[in-house]
């Protein structure tokens, strides 16, 4: 804890908005009460989450050091929440609505990174900042220092309205219908702390896009997505939004449905309020796994959901805030350039040319550019934040935004300033070229700091970037604009479904050991607001992913047809042929002969999924289940192929078969002769693995088992493209969960089964 925490209150008192100050005071009181054991543990966990103070890996006090599981001997104190040690460092998420920042806010971020974290501020895929290794007792001082510069962490995590995201080039984009920024800000502050958003069963993510065809806002993958449009009525141009609802990535991605084709801007705030009320009232509360609004929309159907929202809208008590912000909305954009626009003299600086090509965007306002500052893995140091604040003051009207690709942009650069700006960014080590292309790998925190991480997404991303910049992996024009996104687990925080080359972490048991892997996800599309979701093809050991990329890139180089995009190329050559090309990479040598695949990138510890013991007595049984699970995986893959060929019904059926195969494998651990009859498999699976909770994921609970149960119940319903896609995705996850269950308790199931048999 920091010595000056109390002093900040006095130092900053008058600079903090009264309501925010009260909020932080309340939190500080709850914190003190909890430390004295006078405040409920679960309640404190939710209260801190809603204020952005998240858990971090090892905060249960357990860590595998590569040799054995160790207890981290933190000083004795009450917990911060269930299984969360008080003194274990945590993560602080800081909301940055639509990514908009001022130089002063960057300077505060620099101070906080130095004072409470490890010297690094991290930009996330939802335009937030994150600080890691923060102690809970430092949180109130940290929040006060943010509040003093107009930033709140309120509702940054927890079951609440998360950061409202929006295009980072809104207002300067050549293709937008209009600048979404003022609407995003109005909605942010209207919903922040609003009574109608306090009773959600799950998080709620909102995004704004300025157009439909680019990927910037990713409206399609949000709980509530707005795409700007205009229409002409009686000769007057009217602004409005196409409104999407029920999208989301996570384990099973859902494309959003259109709620309104054109919603006039005056209706934006009341519509969002009405949607919030419907979600709070009817959304699932008990089963977290089905609590996102996407499940409610799917359950009710589009029409019924829309009807309920409209009914709700009619009875909402009118609120002047709905339209107050519209009165003096500027015509174009609210930022006033600090310098006149100008032309760029042609440059001969060989270092500047590639940067200019990839990182400079010509604004719709003549004479100005927006520059992308590439941050490796979203990380930036305190000194760099200060340098960037200085640069932003010198060359822009203080206009900075974070991006969903973990970068920052500087807007309104007068073109003739670009060479000087480039030189200053270079001095601050912030002039990396290749923004948003293959060199700019996006990665979630993964095993570095996330409790759910299975593989080292940042380790892999760091290694790939090293190979790209050292020339160990060659980049040419064919592949330089491809996007790589890496998640540490199936939750998709890096948005791997929308990448050209997506990866997510899974673990595989090999003999008595565990090997970190990544699923290779292909076929995703970033443009069209996240227009298509990729599907996993096969799991490859983590250490061999660079080879996967090299092989696929090589093949794309050699076989690409004129003008063909990567996504179309993958579609044309087909998943079977890609799988064949990569299959040999999946073979893992025995631990005794070669251990190189048994640890993850940039982490020499022998890999472990945690507190799993190594059992030897059940060796034979383990071999059988491995075989069963491999067969189930094959079925998932075949289901994908059926889906690709438009055979939706067959794909859905094959996906169910894959799940039954995996379930049967697990049942066989304790009931060797289980028949192949689906109803019996389901019954035995329910009895032996579901009711006993053996199959339960430590975080997702029984979620994956429900994929099987509901697929079985609906086995006879005809499937369309959307439901078949879901079924296939669910089958993949079910099989993953079966692998995880086997890792966790294969030995236990076998032993208890043996005990039951004797």
């Amino acid at each position: 804890m920091k010595a000056s925490n109390d002093a900040w209150s006095q130092e900053l008192g008058p600079m903090i908005r009264e309501d925010w100050a009260r909020e932080i005071d309340i939190f500080e009181t709850e914190l003190r009460l909890r430390k004295q054991g006078k405040f409920d543990e679960k309640l404190f966990a939710e209260t801190r989450l809603r204020r952005g103070a998240y858990g971090q890996r090892y905060d249960n006090g357990l860590r595998h050091d590569g040799i054995a599981q160790q207890n981290l001997a933190f000083p004795e104190a009450p917990t911060k929440g269930p299984m969360t040690q008080w003194y274990a460092p945590g993560m602080m998420r800081i909301k940055v609505p639509y990514g908009g920042l001022t130089p002063q806010q960057l300077e505060t971020m620099a101070e906080l990174a130095e004072d409470y974290s490890d010297g690094i501020a991290h930009v996330t895929t939802r335009q937030d900042f994150q600080l890691h290794f923060v102690l809970i007792e430092d949180a109130p001082a940290l929040m006060r220092r943010l509040a003093a510069v107009g930033i709140t962490t309120r509702e940054a995590c927890g079951n609440s309205v998360r950061n409202v995201t929006g295009c980072a080039i809104a207002g300067v984009c050549r293709e937008e219908a209009f600048d979404i920024s003022p609407y995003a800000r109005a909605l942010t502050f209207f919903l922040l702390g609003h009574q109608d958003v306090q009773d959600f069963g799950r998080k709620f993510k909102i995004s704004f896009s300025g157009c439909a065809h680019n990927g910037c806002g990713l409206a399609n993958m949000h709980d509530l997505g707005m795409v700007a449009r205009t229409r002409v009525v009686d000769g007057l141009t009217q602004r409005g939004f196409q409104v999407f609802v029920g999208g989301g990535l996570g384990a099973v991605p859902h494309s959003a449905r259109v709620l309104y084709d054109f919603l006039p801007v005056e209706e934006l705030l009341p519509m969002a309020q009405a949607v919030s009320r419907v979600f709070a009232r009817l959304g699932e509360k008990k089963n977290r796994a089905r609590a996102r609004v996407k499940f409610l929309v799917a359950k009710l159907g589009d029409e019924e959901f829309r009807r309920l929202v409209q009914e709700e809208r009619k009875v909402l008590p009118s609120d002047p805030r709905w339209t107050a912000y519209l009165t003096d909305l500027p015509e174009a954009t609210e930022e006033k350039p600090s310098k006149p626009g100008s032309a760029l003299a042609s440059t001969t600086n060989p270092e500047m040319l590639p940067w200019q090509k990839s990182n400079v965007y010509a604004q719709k306002q003549e004479g100005y550019s927006t520059v992308t500052v590439k941050l490796p893995l979203g990380d930036i140091t305190a000194a760099q934040l200060r340098a960037l604040a200085d640069i932003a003051r010198r060359y822009t009207p203080g206009a900075i935004r974070t991006t969903v690709e973990q970068n920052m942009v500087l807007r309104w650069i007068s073109n003739s300033d670009l060479p000087a700006l480039f030189a200053e960014l270079q001095a601050a080590k912030l002039a990396g070229a290749g923004a948003e292309g293959i060199r700019d790998v996006v990665a979630c925190p993964g095993t570095d700091t996330c409790k759910l991480g299975i593989s080292a997404s940042r380790g892999l991303a760091g290694e790939l970037m090293r190979r790209f910049s050292s020339g160990d992996m060659a980049i040419d024009e064919t592949i330089e604009r491809l996007k790589i996104k890496i998640s540490g687990c199936f939750n998709s925080c890096s948005q791997h479904h929308l990448a050209d080359l997506g990866f997510y972490g899974v673990a595989r048991k090999v003999g008595a050991h565990t090997v970190p892997h990544f699923q290779v996800v292909l076929g995703g599309q970033w443009s069209e607001n996240g227009g298509a979701y990729g599907l996993p093809i096969l799991a490859v050991p983590s250490r061999r992913i660079p080879q996967v990329i090299e092989r696929i890139a090589d093949r794309f180089r050699k076989e690409r047809q004129a003008g063909e995009t990567f996504q179309l190329f993958i579609k044309r050559i087909g998943k079977v042929s890609i799988k064949q090309m990569l299959d040999d990479l999946t073979a893992v040598p025995e631990h005794a002969s070669d251990r190189s695949l048994y640890s993850d990138w940039r982490d020499p510890r022998e890999y472990s999924t945690g507190d799993m013991g190594v059992g030897e007595c059940a060796g034979e049984v383990v071999t059988r289940i491995d075989f069963d699970l491999a067969a189930a995986e094959r079925e998932v893959f075949e289901a994908q192929l059926l889906l690709d060929s438009g055979n939706n019904d067959a794909a859905a059926k094959r996906a169910l078969r894959a799940m039954l195969q995996a379930a049967r494998g697990l049942v066989r651990l304790s009931y060797l002769d289980v028949p192949e009859t689906p109803a019996v498999i389901i019954e035995e699976f329910r009895k032996r693995l579901y009711d006993t909770q053996l199959f339960f994921d430590p975080f997702a609970g029984g979620k994956f088992a429900h994929f099987l149960f509901s697929a079985f119940e609906r086995a006879d319903e005809p499937a369309d493209q959307r439901s078949a896609h879901h079924r296939v995705e669910e089958a993949g996850l079910f099989v993953e969960a079966a692998h995880a269950c086997n890792l966790r308790q294969g030995d236990r199931i076998a032993q208890s089964g043996l005990a039951a048999a004797t």
Binding site: A3, L72, E114
Partner: protein
């Protein structure tokens, strides 16, 4: 002025030889072998960040890192996270002593043997709490006096200490330079 959350960077004698990433296995081993006093939690890798905090050993009471840092000069940093009792002098001796010990241990690791050594006479010492020790002339004068006093106890004399940056946004930081290299073991024996 109160000195809390001090950090001490000891510069390397060979500024550019090893890669900071070579410290990853060393720090993991330190955790496994409990090579240092205190509770050490994990290793954070920032080797992808230019002029960044390099590889960090994250502890409950402190951080240790091998970094280039904003100065772009290789060195090992010991940074105190906890609130320490005692007076400024005692806190300075604690931070300096721990930094020198960690420096010696790191340079002896097989991953670095012969490629990395540190100079106890080339330091960057930061008063980590910007509210208790402000980056102004008055506090700088006190800090300087305290630091020179502590260095003297360790036998590091005839040093030149300078305020590293007068930018009021930076924390109060002093750079220390000795005319000739100072060996770590000599300093550590003075501490004993």
């Amino acid at each position: 002025m109160e000195l809390q959350h001090l950090s001490v960077k000891v510069y390397s004698l060979a500024p550019s030889a090893p890669e900071v990433a070579d410290a990853i296995p060393v720090f993991h081993r330190w955790i496994q072998e409990k090579a240092l006093p205190g509770l050490w939690l994990d290793v954070a890798d920032y080797s992808h960040v230019p002029a960044g905090p390099g590889i960090q050993l994250i502890g409950h009471e402190a951080y240790i890192r091998l970094e280039q840092g904003a100065e772009e000069r290789l060195g090992i940093v010991f940074e105190v996270r906890e609130i320490r009792d005692g007076d400024n002098h005692a806190r300075l001796l604690h931070a300096l002593g721990f930094a020198f010990r960690a420096a010696l241990l790191l340079s002896a690791a097989p991953e670095f043997a012969g490629r990395l050594s540190f100079d106890a006479g080339q330091l960057l010492v930061c008063a980590g709490d910007r509210l208790l020790a402000r980056n102004n002339a008055e506090h700088a004068a006190v800090f300087r006096q305290e630091l020179e006093g502590a260095l003297k106890v360790l036998g590091i004399a005839s040093v030149e200490t300078k305020v590293a940056s007068t930018d009021s946004r930076s924390r109060l930081t002093l750079s220390v330079a000795c005319g000739a290299p100072v060996a770590l073991d000599a300093v550590l024996s003075a501490l004993r």
